[in-house]
């Protein structure tokens, strides 16, 4: 399919000013570029979890698996294992991937399976109307923590570095050009690619005034140096007032999980012969 519209007729129900619009627009532009370069968009699959972010599966007119809360990553892994020709992009939320489905995120990085994970990190639960998430700052007052959270946020980039991710980046919905190059780089990367996207929640947690003065693009360094990457990743812990670096923190090439499976599916008759041969060994 070529030159297609890429946007479905589904009514968009994100709030005005929602950061999800930026991510959808950016992803659409990346897809358009890919198609112009000769990629077949029928070979792209989008997998989402559940949350405001996940509506992107309804809105983008490409193959999609609108899964359940926290579980997009194992679904995406299965898709890649079944058909390595597919490019699998996983859009997940911060509550989705860092709370409910954290185990899957860590293991996907550990396996270096060749999928792209884009985290719509607005640091609040939007669709359930405003509770803290694993990346909300300490003291966040949400509906489940009216007196403020008692716990500190986790740093997802540091976690991904420790887990074995081979492409680790952070973008921001108000830096669209950079976001586009980070997402494109993630899709092109062979291996587990992770992009944490700082995203505005216009209704429940609008961080624009905190982010804008603090964000800056990462300077040049050897991106395969995990030591430097770790230092850069730790500069901001998702809680302090430190400067917030944006860009690609770390990248290395490594054998992927999926490329190590090479089984050719056998047809019925071959299977039956093999079964009979096996049974003979048990006589």
């Amino acid at each position: 399919m070529t030159g297609r519209h890429l946007i479905t007729d589904a009514q968009n129900t994100w709030c005005p000013g929602c950061g999800n619009f930026s991510i959808q627009h950016t992803l659409k532009n990346v897809l358009t570029d890919l198609e112009q370069e000769g990629e077949d968009l029928d070979q792209i699959v989008l997998v989402s979890g559940i949350g405001c972010h996940a509506k992107i599966a309804d809105y983008l007119d490409i193959n999609s698996f609108y899964s359940i809360h926290g579980r997009a990553i194992p679904v995406a892994s299965g898709i890649k294992l079944a058909n390595r020709d597919l490019k699998v992009i996983c859009c997940v939320g911060d509550g989705d991937a860092y709370a409910e489905g954290l185990d899957h995120l860590i293991f996907a990085a550990k396996r270096n399976i060749d999928i792209t994970v884009i985290v719509h990190n607005n640091r609040v639960y939007g669709l359930t109307t405003g509770q803290y998430t694993p990346t909300s700052p300490h003291g966040f007052k949400g509906k489940s923590t009216p007196m403020g959270t008692l716990e500190y946020p986790l740093n997802p980039l540091e976690l991904m570095l420790a887990s074995g991710g081979t492409y680790i980046a952070r973008g921001y919905t108000q830096k669209r050009d950079q976001l586009k190059s980070l997402i494109r780089g993630a899709i092109d990367h062979k291996g587990f690619a992770f992009v944490d996207v700082l995203q505005i929640c216009a209704t429940f947690f609008n961080m624009t005034s905190q982010y804008n003065p603090r964000v800056y693009p990462l300077q040049e360094y050897d991106r395969s140096d995990a030591g430097i990457a770790c230092e850069k990743v730790r500069e901001w812990d998702y809680n302090s007032d430190a400067p917030i670096a944006l860009g690609l923190f770390y990248q290395r090439s490594a054998l992927t999980f999926d490329e190590q499976f090479r089984h050719q599916s056998l047809h019925g008759k071959e299977r039956q012969i093999l079964i009979e041969e096996f049974l003979a060994t048990r006589q």
Binding site: D58, Y66, Q272
Partner: protein
């Protein structure tokens, strides 16, 4: 006179009881016997008491018996814990280094020393002694060792010969034929059935008694061209499998009750998104961690009702290894054709027991195959065009945008809350249940055995059929068993039970879950015989329980 012999092999965990049991079963196999082997072991790696009971007969057998004709004792516990199983003619072969008992003692340490063999080969001396006591010719022993002990068969045979020569034939087992069956476990039967049915990937997290299915498929992944994955937990297992299925693979997953608890959100997703998936659940004694290595049938209602919301599912509970093979292949086809979850409900007794499968009688399964998009018209994943199911296309298919969704969705797969569409799509999904029920008429969904006019009938499900069938024979009763539990074969079951004056359900749970299911379908069970200590019912135990109940 019917030939029917039982052999007990016992020792402590780590003594190699499983492999000793397997060799004894092969010895009986090689003199023409149908066999079944029951393994019992505690949930630990070293120490504790392990035993195997191998039964051989001139007819197919699916269950062991209480009483044994031969004992191979690696330790004293084997004599003291099982004395109730011995009769006056029981032949005892034991390691005289550690056991003091009447019978045929041989010094395992002496046999090992004389052949300069490692301790792990000690069992061979006792197996040799058993073979001799049972009058099994040395050539047969030699052949079985060479076929089934690929590593160090020679030295094992020399050790076995030491045992063989020290014992005389006390109670010879008659050779009854030259035909040899394939000995496989219930889990292996399931695995081969899944492969027969088109399995492309198996995803599982270890949990007894399903783990040996994972181990078998992982070991033979290359041979059968399948991908085997052991991910981080059971939630990942089912979601990964759904991803594989969506992308055109033919996956199955396996677990026990505790793991299945974690899978239920994924099960409901499979129902809503109409993604084919085969799930093997092998029951153990519950609730919770329960008895990890013992059997039970207490997950029937859980399996029938797991997952939020309503969606059709196929549930089959094979009672024998042969059925396990056949129905696993059928389950693959049903899941693929009807785009529903298909659950194979087994238990520890079936999964881990070993049985004789006749390779020349592999079941012929009529496959329907998946219903695929032909490329005409715009593709809609959930098109409701009057056919049994919506046509499937897989991502990567040129011209098809394949959208699946856990939310209520329209025909294109996009989320909707429109009342009329929600109702229509619900009807579309539920319609598959009726079609599936109709298709089931071509299968043996209810198994009957024994006289039609028996006033008292036994009804059971799953592996307990072995005890039920034999007890029914002995007492002149009729035994009836639904193999398919969803869609429930109500009409056929009622026909099978026609004329019953007293209906007794036999189940390995504490509440009578089949009896409750039968009541739901208008069938009244008069008496329940329930067993819930983790040990499978044997024919003798059941006969006794039935007599207590006034049969």
């Amino acid at each position: 006179m019917a030939q029917d012999v039982s052999v007990l092999v016992g020792g402590k965990a780590g003594d190699g009881i499983n492999s000793a049991g397997a060799v004894v079963a092969q010895l009986l196999n090689s003199v023409g016997y149908h066999t079944c082997t029951y393994y019992e072991y505690p949930s630990l790696i070293r120490g504790g008491h392990n035993f195997a009971i191998i039964r051989g007969a001139d007819h197919p057998v699916d269950v062991h018996r209480n009483m044994v004709d031969y004992v191979i004792a690696l330790n004293m516990d084997t004599i003291s814990l099982h004395s109730g199983r011995f009769h006056e003619k029981t032949v005892t072969v034991f390691n005289s280094d550690v056991v003091k008992a009447p019978g045929q003692g041989i010094s395992v340490s002496a046999a090992l020393t004389s052949e300069n063999a490692p301790a792990i080969m000690g069992n061979s001396a006792l197996i040799g002694a058993f073979a001799s006591s049972a009058g099994i010719p040395w050539d047969t022993v030699s052949e079985v060792f060479n076929r089934h002990i690929p590593k160090g068969a020679d030295i094992n045979l020399r050790v076995a010969r030491k045992g063989y020569d020290q014992v005389t034939a006390v109670h010879p087992i008659n050779r009854i034929g030259d035909r040899r069956f394939s000995l496989i476990s219930g889990n292996e039967a399931i695995a081969l059935g899944l492969i027969h049915g088109g399995l492309s990937a198996y995803v599982s997290y270890p949990m007894t008694p399903s783990s040996s299915l994972l181990h078998f498929l992982a070991e033979h992944a290359d041979r059968f061209g399948i991908t085997v994955i052991h991910p981080e937990n059971e939630i990942a297992v089912i979601l990964m499998a759904l991803g594989i299925s969506y992308a055109g693979g033919r996956p199955a997953i396996g677990t026990s009750g505790g793991g299945f608890c974690l899978m239920t959100e994924g099960l409901s997703l499979a129902g809503m998104a109409e993604i084919p998936l085969v799930i093997v659940v092998s029951q153990r004694t519950g609730p919770s961690t329960g008895l990890p290595t013992f059997t039970g049938q207490s997950d029937l209602h859980f399996i029938l009702h797991a997952g939020q919301g309503e969606f059709p599912r196929f549930v089959v509970a094979p009672g024998t290894a042969r059925e396990a093979y056949a129905w696993s292949a059928v389950a693959m086809d049903i899941a693929g054709h009807y785009q529903v979850p298909a659950i194979i409900l087994a238990d520890k007794t079936l999964s881990e027991g070993t049985f004789s499968l006749d390779p020349v009688q592999l079941p012929e399964v009529p496959f329907r195959g998946p219903v695929l998009w032909d490329g005409s018209n715009t593709y809609h994943r959930y098109a409701d065009n009057g056919s049994v199911v919506s046509h499937q296309a897989f991502p990567g298919t040129r011209g098809a945008v394949v959208k699946v969704n856990s939310y209520a969705h329209d025909e294109t797969g996009i989320t909707t809350e429109e009342a009329a569409i929600v109702a229509q799509m619900t009807r579309k999904r539920m319609r598959k249940a009726a079609h599936l029920a109709e298709a089931m008429e071509a299968y043996d969904t209810v198994i009957t055995d024994g006289p039609v006019h028996a006033g008292t009938m036994l009804v059971c499900w799953g592996s307990v059929q072995g005890a039920c069938t034999e007890a029914a024979h002995e007492l002149g009763l009729r035994a009836v068993r639904p193999v398919v539990l969803s869609p429930f074969p109500e009409i056929r079951l009622k026909q099978a039970l026609e004329g019953a004056r007293r209906l007794i359900s036999v189940e390995e749970n504490a509440t009578g879950q089949l009896a409750a299911l039968l009541r739901l379908h208008g069938i009244t069970v008069d008496t329940m015989v329930l067993q819930y200590d983790g040990r499978p019912l044997t024919p003798e135990m059941l006969v006794e329980r039935l007599k207590e109940a006034g049969v």
